[in-house]
């Protein structure tokens, strides 16, 4: 076990981290330039298109919005996005690019899917290849993959902008921030990535499904579609909703170990780089570095923990004369629900990355993980999707935790809490409390309702504690806008479609609006210069306290529910 984990597996994880962190500064600098409206590499190509968009929307790019206008623009735009996507999905049967003649979705499934993609959750109640037409995938899901990620980045930028302004009422223009996020960052990266993934074997066609006649003479219908274009933004925009039911475990979404490496890299790329953009925008790069350090310090041990739990395998199988020991000729370990080309290390790394970020794509089936292996993705979501987190949303969530940490640290040492020269007062703390507690509340209340009702329990696949974990995982995923699942749960029922849809809405907007309000409140304040009494927020000590606060909130809130799920399941497993 150790040989593999700290040999090939450990090496792959190390290379992943090195490449990821190497991308942070160049991409982070580029994004900061984009969001500050400075000239950048793509300005000559993109700026004519950018001006066209502003003209069509009818916005004056130089005109700032107040908190109220910005928040209203986010809500109205998201509402309109939901309405359009819902209608597309319900009316799918009447729309073009539907070679398999798939019918419209039921209203509850369309509601769930539309909410899911507009909130950047991308929970899969649908099964891509047997539910959605090419039109729905392209004009519906792909578009919202871009826009929901763009909204997250816009809100982050507005919040950070607020921190840098003095006695200002405006926090920027939503349409400008959204347009820049999409045109300068998401679209060029996706286009590039789609053209890298395509030749590796990610399919891209409008042709109908193909019938093959197998070597043994059976008929095999092969689902196809415009996958590469969707796959690229699905990974880069921390969306994670698969073209196919099995997401990035499907060979047409993720054909090779190298495509897997790049897709896994894409999960954390923008969220990690945005920390550096933040540092650049607040004119103190150490602040961004501190946040990325906090994220990485939480992330790495959990990756290794998950990988070692999975590599240890399923003890029940040892008694059956099965070899689970890793060697040069087999991955070994718990291979139920995993692909041979990815083995154990790349599956566990992905499981951790996809739940650290609010991506939610999978390249292995989390429900079949060992209890402790499955504990890791669940825990990472329960930290509130701030360990890298979603595109934009992860960092604004992290900044909310920073506000709380500054406040607690200020209380401990008897200093006025300040962050970046701004006094942190009761309004900011109220908003931070709402942003942290709202997802926790919907996760726990939702889980309680589901396990207490017949319609909730009806969806459970696995017996015992694992069945409870399936429900807990679903609400954790929805409430924190992740989108991955313990997929044994049959979630395409009116109960789960509606309940999880509501959790996604609360989990998105009850964090987004308070974050924006904090930014606006800080913008209105004067900036006080740092003095000997100022608590520095870029030191290892502050990073340690920040990590402590995140873990404390997560563990105190969820310890009982985790004990009832993965912890019991673990003791059942080792008890035989």
């Amino acid at each position: 076990m150790t040989a593999s984990l700290f040999g090939w597996g450990g090496l792959q994880i190390a290379v992943y981290l090195v490449v990821l962190l190497a991308c942070v500064v160049p991409l982070g600098t580029f994004m900061a330039r984009v969001f500050q409206g400075e000239r950048n590499l793509l300005t000559p190509v993109i700026s004519p298109l950018e001006r066209l968009v502003y003209a069509a929307i009818g916005t004056d790019a130089d005109k700032d919005m107040s908190f109220r206008d910005y928040a209203m623009a986010v809500i109205v735009f998201s509402g309109a996005s939901f309405a359009l996507l819902f209608l597309m999905l319900v009316g799918q049967g009447l729309l073009p690019f539907n070679p398999q003649g798939l019918p419209g979705l039921t209203p509850d499934l369309a509601f769930n899917t539309a909410v899911s993609f507009v909130t950047n959750t991308n929970w899969q109640s649908y099964a891509g290849e047997s539910t959605l037409s090419y039109f729905s995938q392209m004009a519906g899901l792909t578009v919202q993959n871009f826009l929901s990620a763009g909204v997250g980045m816009a809100v982050l930028v507005a919040m950070v902008r607020g921190m840098t302004r003095r006695k200002a009422t405006g926090i920027g223009n939503f349409w400008v921030d959204l347009t820049r996020a999409v045109l300068y960052v998401l679209l060029p990266l996706s286009l590039l990535f789609a053209f890298v993934l395509g030749p590796m074997g990610v399919v891209q066609t409008f042709a109908a499904y193909v019938d093959a006649h197998t070597l043994e003479g059976a008929k095999q219908t092969i689902a196809l579609g415009p996958v590469a274009s969707q796959e690229a933004i699905k990974m880069l925009g921390t969306n994670g909703g698969g073209f196919f039911n099995t997401n990035s475990a499907h060979p047409f979404e993720n054909p090779t170990p190298f495509s897997n490496f790049l897709e896994c890299l894409a999960i954390l790329l923008i969220p990690a780089a945005l920390c550096h953009s933040f540092g650049v925008m607040v004119k103190d790069r150490r602040q961004g570095l501190a946040l990325i350090a906090a994220m990485t310090v939480v992330f790495v041990p959990l990756v290794l923990f998950a990988a070692s739990a999975e590599q240890a395998g399923n003890p029940h199988l040892n008694a059956l004369g099965i070899d689970q020991v890793a060697s040069t000729v087999q991955p070994g370990g718990n291979m139920e629900g995993k692909e041979v080309r990815f083995g154990i290390a790349n599956s566990a790394l992905w499981a951790a990355a996809t739940t650290a970020a609010s991506n939610g794509s999978v390249n292995s089936m989390h429900d079949s993980y060992t209890p402790l292996g499955g504990f890791v993705p669940m825990l990472l979501m329960k930290f509130g999707e701030v360990i890298y987190g979603g595109v934009g949303s992860g960092l604004y969530g992290m900044l909310v935790f920073v506000i709380v940490t500054v406040f607690i640290a200020g209380l401990m040492v008897g200093r006025t809490p300040e962050y970046l020269g701004k006094k942190i007062q009761s309004f900011e703390m109220k908003m931070a409390s709402i942003a942290i507690l709202a997802p926790c509340a919907v996760v726990l209340i939702g889980t309680a309702i589901a396990v207490a009702t017949d319609s909730g329990r009806a969806g459970i696949l696995n017996p015992g504690a694992q069945g409870f974990s399936e429900v807990l995982y679903a609400f954790t995923s929805a409430g924190n806008n992740n989108g991955s699942a313990f997929a044994g749960l049959s979630a395409n029922t009116p109960f789960y479609n509606v309940a999880l849809g509501l959790c996604m809405l609360i989990g998105r907007y009850m964090v987004l609006i308070p974050a924006l309000a904090i930014g606006a409140s800080l913008a209105a304040k004067n900036t006080t210069p740092a003095s000997a009494g100022t608590l520095p927020t870029h030191t290892p000590l502050f990073v340690a306290v920040l990590i402590g606060v995140i873990i404390l909130v997560g563990v105190l809130t969820y310890a009982p529910s985790l004990a009832l799920g993965p912890v019991i399941e673990h003791f059942v497993m080792i008890g035989g």
Binding site: T205, Q220, G337, M365
Partner: protein
């Protein structure tokens, strides 16, 4: 700003972005990839001797005859290796259904090759994530060499050569795990005869 003006701006933005991101972007990607790498864009379809499509190099298919290399168990749709309804089993480690299924798979392997006393590589008796895993581990292929050689009346060395032709190592010596493409190995075996 009024609600009406926000609604109008939202409608304009959605229209424009849907055309750009849902229309132009996938269209450009499709045209580009169909030109640059048409085989990959079309699913890496594999054709047999008389030109008919026998499957995709990237997708597994069902093999049950002793003369073929068997792939991994599959939990897709209504039957194994249904490439229009991908699915894992989602069975938990403690689920008796999983343990019973694995027992039955071990028994089936032993029944097909009674003399084989080697321990069974885990990937050969556990369902893949997609249900369409095209690969098995080299160990899982090696486990089946004796059975295939006997069924085809070939030397084990010949079977091993066919399997080796379908084996890939780690990409760039680093990424992923070594693996044997089951369909490619079986097509190589069919070329050998029997």
């Amino acid at each position: 700003m009024t609600l009406t003006s926000q609604l109008r701006a939202s409608a304009a933005a959605l229209t424009l972005f849907t055309l750009l991101l849902g229309g132009a972007y996938p269209a450009i990607t499709t045209i580009g990839l169909q030109t640059l790498s048409p085989a990959a864009a079309g699913g890496n379809l594999v054709t047999g001797g008389n030109g008919e499509i026998v499957g995709s190099r990237l997708l597994g298919q069902t093999f049950t005859a002793p003369r073929y290399l068997w792939g991994r168990p599959s939990a897709t749709g209504s039957s194994p290796y249904d490439a229009s309804a991908s699915s894992g089993s989602n069975l938990g480690v403690n689920n008796p259904t999983l343990i019973d299924a694995v027992k039955a798979r071990v028994a089936a392997l032993k029944a097909a090759d009674p003399g084989n006393t080697a321990s069974v590589p885990v990937d050969l008796v556990t369902a893949s994530a997609s249900g369409l895993d095209p690969d098995i581990s080299p160990a899982a292929a090696d486990y089946q060499v004796g059975r295939i050689a006997k069924a085809r009346g070939l030397d084990e060395a010949q079977v091993r050569t066919a399997i080796a032709s379908a084996t890939s190592g780690r990409t760039l010596g680093l990424f992923g795990d070594p693996r044997v493409n089951v369909l490619a190995a079986n097509m190589a075996l069919d070329k050998l005869g029997q």
